[in-house]
């Protein structure tokens, strides 16, 4: 090679390229003081750049970023996390919890099988429980209406299930209206 290296050729050597006819370039650098000095100067620059340190932001940087990041946990991830949170950390406790869970599962299965074999008795008991619960609920509702409306509640109470349903609806509507009015008043007070 009877000329000095071009800047692009210096770059090729600098980037450690192979092929592209680099062997003649390397041979030239070995024999030419000017090009050798040029390449060395470029290498010094690259080494200096490569040793530039990373600069740290302020210690509060991460906190400031996180305060503006919208974190949205999908429901299935939240559920999984909750379940994981319930699992004990230590191994003996995990084994104990597993044993307890297995025992409960076996007991519930046995109970279900037993209930299925005596389905008539189960249905009868369930009917009895529902009937008593309904009587208790109607009694409580009637008591509440009598306390609230006095004698005016008598037609509703004597109107059977339909009357009680109407009374319950009236109670719910009245309660909702009162809550709405209270909320509106609170909003107005806050605005002031």
């Amino acid at each position: 090679m009877d000329r000095h290296l071009l800047p692009e050729e210096i770059d090729l050597l600098l980037d450690g390229e192979v092929g592209f006819g680099t062997p003649p370039l390397k041979a030239h650098v070995r024999s030419c003081v000017t090009c050798s000095r040029e390449l060395e100067s470029a290498r010094v620059l690259v080494r200096t750049l490569e040793h530039l340190p990373h600069i740290a932001p302020s210690p509060l940087f991460a906190g400031r970023v996180m305060s503006r990041v919208q974190l949205f946990v999908p429901w299935h991830v939240a559920l999984l996390d909750t379940v994981r949170g319930l699992i004990p950390q230590s191994r003996p406790l995990r084994v104990a919890a597993g044993a307890l869970f297995a025992t409960m599962a076996i007991a519930l299965t046995a109970l279900s099988v037993w209930a299925f074999t005596r389905i008539d008795a189960v249905l009868f008991t369930a009917d009895l429980v529902v009937d008593r619960a309904r009587s208790a609920a109607f009694g409580a509702l009637g008591g509440a209406l009598s306390a609230l409306l006095g004698d005016a509640a008598r037609p509703l109470l004597t109107g059977g299930a339909l009357g009680l349903a109407a009374a319950a609806l009236l109670l719910v509507v009245t309660g909702a209206a009162a809550a709405t009015m209270l909320r509106a008043a609170a909003v107005r007070a806050r605005e002031r």
Binding site: E8, D11, L14, A42, P57, A62, V65, L71, P74
Partner: protein, 200 residues
């Protein structure tokens, strides 16, 4: 705490996947991993700590709030640097800082084109503020980097400070590979000249 310790050993793509699930420790880990490289790149581009903090913050907020759009076949760091570079270049354009080319468009093919797009100035000396920022950056090389055009600066910093390949830089900055090579070549040349001037 156990999750945070485990995250340190996970590759970026896995941490990003956990961040997509809304897990806060994964977000924190991504910030921890990249706050220094991203902040360094931006600081060396804008040369002002407060502005760099704001821009780096914007970068991370954009990335983390859009983490569900991240596709794992690409490098997370490339995406992060791409957004950092875009945010910074937008800022520099908005503020019209003293980073306007003095020597004509970098795309100029001929001397005439370069002259037509160049600015006429008396001196390239630093203002007092710039001098102070340069002292903070610490060395002649930092000052010389500060004198480069922004597009040269991001290329040379990604190449030699972050150790990215030409192809990665081209993908990160949305530039043709040849342009990246040209920018880096010119940046090296300008840096050597600047440092040579300082030594003389």
């Amino acid at each position: 705490m156990a999750l945070a310790l485990d995250l340190r050993n996970l590759p970026d793509a896995d941490v990003a996947a956990l961040a997509k699930e809304g897990r806060e420790p994964a977000f924190r880990e991504l910030v921890r991993r990249y706050e220094r490289p991203v902040f360094s790149l931006i600081f060396r581009m804008v040369r002002d700590r407060e502005t760099a903090e704001d821009l780096a913050q914007d970068t991370f907020i954009k990335v983390l709030n859009n983490i569900d759009r991240y596709r794992s076949e690409f490098k997370l760091s490339s995406w992060l640097f791409k957004i950092a570079n875009n945010v910074t270049i937008d800022h520099l354009r908005r503020r019209q800082l003293a980073t306007v080319s003095l020597d004509g468009s970098p795309h100029a093919q001929t001397v005439a084109e370069a002259q037509a797009t160049s600015l006429d100035v008396e001196s390239r000396g630093e203002s007092a503020l710039e001098a102070m920022e340069s002292r903070e950056l610490g060395s002649a090389i930092e000052r010389a980097i500060g004198q480069l055009r922004p597009e040269y600066r991001s290329c040379i910093l990604l190449r030699h400070v972050e150790g990215r390949s030409y192809e990665e830089i081209a993908a990160t900055l949305d530039l043709p590979l040849g342009t990246v090579k040209t920018y880096i070549h010119r940046a090296r040349h300008e840096l050597r000249e600047a440092l040579g001037d300082l030594r003389e």
